[in-house]
């Protein structure tokens, strides 16, 4: 009886210790505390000491959680060491001081020692000139082209929202709601049909009719633009995947935003239907 009580007391004490360790590790992970204030050996000793006491699932989970956080902090320590040992790491104050002290001419000489300008040529060749001439010869004059495109006169008027919905120019739901619903659909589709949190772009946008496919591609483009999802493109293999984010992302401008034109042609849709997009 006495032994049972003492074991219970030990387990409680161990639990508290592990919880404190997890809290400290979490603070380190959140960059609130220097990762090197941690004594890894001591923590491992505590974990080892109490491990035989754990019988319940929640205790074993706490033990696993501690090890997981510890591994993550050790990774952080190694990254810190890597960054400091990196040849580019220098004391910013020292560097700033040097910049201020160094004269203009000397600075130029230093820069020229490290500057390797890109060779870039923009030059016309005989071949491209000939091609351009051929193009010019076959080009229909503007006056003729504009004639074809000239629109007929249309009387102006007022169209109600209902009429636009009827003509399928507008949907019957508010756009943001529709987008939100589409995002949920993407998340479910990725969960069910995807692998590693992503699925083939065409498998997501593809629908029974071509019109519906285009509509889905249209909504998908907004999902990507507004940060609900992203594309992963493998240009060499000509593969395109779509990934859904758990929360909408707003990327800082450190990363350059790029537009990806994707053609959703009827031929592609038919290929996808026949299963030839693999």
């Amino acid at each position: 009886m006495q032994a049972q009580k003492s074991a219970k007391r030990d387990a409680k004490k161990g639990r508290e210790k592990l919880q404190r360790i997890v809290a400290m590790l979490t603070a380190i992970e959140a960059h609130q505390v220097d990762p090197f204030t941690l004594n890894v050996d001591e923590i491992l000793q505590v974990v080892r000491e109490y491990f035989p006491e754990w019988k319940k699932t929640e205790d074993l989970t706490l033990d696993a959680e501690t090890i997981h956080h510890l591994a993550s902090v050790i990774k952080q320590q190694s990254e810190w060491v890597k960054s400091r040992s990196n040849s580019l790491y220098t004391d910013p104050f020292l560097l700033e001081e040097k910049i201020n002290q160094t004269g203009k001419e000397r600075m130029l000489a230093i820069f020229l020692h490290a500057w390797r300008p890109i060779v870039e040529l923009e030059q016309i060749s005989i071949r491209s000139l000939i091609e351009a001439m051929r193009y010019w010869q076959t080009l229909v004059p503007l006056s003729e082209r504009w004639k074809e495109l000239a629109p007929g006169e249309v009387a102006t008027g007022v169209v109600s929202r209902d009429e636009l919905v009827k003509q399928r120019i507008l949907g019957d739901k508010i756009f943001s709601e529709e987008l939100e619903q589409f995002w949920q659909e993407l998340k479910t589709a990725v969960e069910q049909k995807g692998e590693n949190g992503k699925m083939r772009y065409w498998d997501f946008i593809g629908a029974d009719t071509y019109e519906r496919t285009v509509e889905r591609a249209f909504f998908t483009s907004f999902l990507i633009t507004y940060g609900y999802a992203t594309l992963e493109i493998h240009p060499l293999e000509e593969l395109m995947f779509i990934k859904a984010f758990d929360k909408p992302q707003t990327k800082a401008r450190i990363e350059q935003v790029v537009s990806v034109p994707i053609a959703v042609t009827c031929d592609d849709w038919q290929k996808w239907k026949r299963g030839e997009m693999e």
Binding site: L95, G103, K104, L108, R116, P117, V119, Q256
Partner: protein, 216 residues
């Protein structure tokens, strides 16, 4: 010439065309484009080209998506496919040559200070701080123009919060490690000698400024 050599010669030619002539808005070619055009052995083709370019004081430069590779670290095929390849100068330019390719001494020194300062601030700095720093040695009216020019050329990028970062051209053209190492090894002695040169240079800068004003 053996058939194999002939194939390589043709591939080297094609690689030269792709690297030297601008195909997109930015110069250089993506690894996957070279892969598609030259085949899976394109790194070998580029090695041959690089060897050939040595005599011309040029080189094939690879800029990886994830930043510089550590010395001796071999890139994977995937990393190479995602990297961007450029033809760049191999050796150093003299100040006179730099002037000949369209850079004024002041502008280039300003770029050097800007790039070094941003590196010292771990990759980002406020535009205002950079402007203040440049204004110490470059006329105020020129500072903003110069920064805009660095942004336009792709050496810097700026965000809506007024922060400036190093952009693609700096990553492709500037050996950041060499720049920082050389800057840190600057001795006081050499500075003293350059200070006197600088006084001579100031006359030249004044001439340049006059020239620029006349042009505008």
């Amino acid at each position: 010439m053996s058939r194999r050599k002939g194939v390589y010669a043709a591939k080297v030619k094609r690689a030269t065309h792709m690297l030297f002539f601008k195909r997109h808005m930015k110069p250089g070619v993506k690894g996957w484009e070279l892969h598609k055009s030259l085949g899976a052995d394109y790194p070998k083709v580029l090695d041959v080209l690089d060897d050939y370019l040595k005599n011309l004081d040029l080189q094939v430069k690879i800029v990886f998506e994830e930043g510089e590779k550590l010395h001796g670290e071999k890139p994977t095929v995937d990393e190479l496919d995602k990297a961007r390849f450029y033809a760049t100068l191999r050796g150093d330019l003299t100040p006179k040559e730099a002037k000949m390719i369209g850079w004024r001494v002041d502008d280039l020194a300003g770029l050097a200070v800007t790039v070094s300062y941003i590196i010292s601030k771990r990759g980002q700095a406020s535009r205002k701080d950079v402007e203040d720093l440049l204004a110490e040695k470059i006329p105020g009216w020129k500072v903003g123009l110069n920064l805009d020019r660095y942004v336009r050329y792709g050496y810097l990028t700026e965000d809506e919060n007024g922060l400036v970062y190093l952009d693609w051209r700096t990553r492709a053209e500037v050996d950041q490690k060499a720049l920082i190492d050389t800057l840190l090894s600057v001795e006081k002695q050499s500075q003293l000698s350059t200070e006197t040169k600088e006084q001579d240079g100031e006359e030249e800068s004044a001439d340049e400024a006059r020239e620029e004003l006349n042009e505008s």
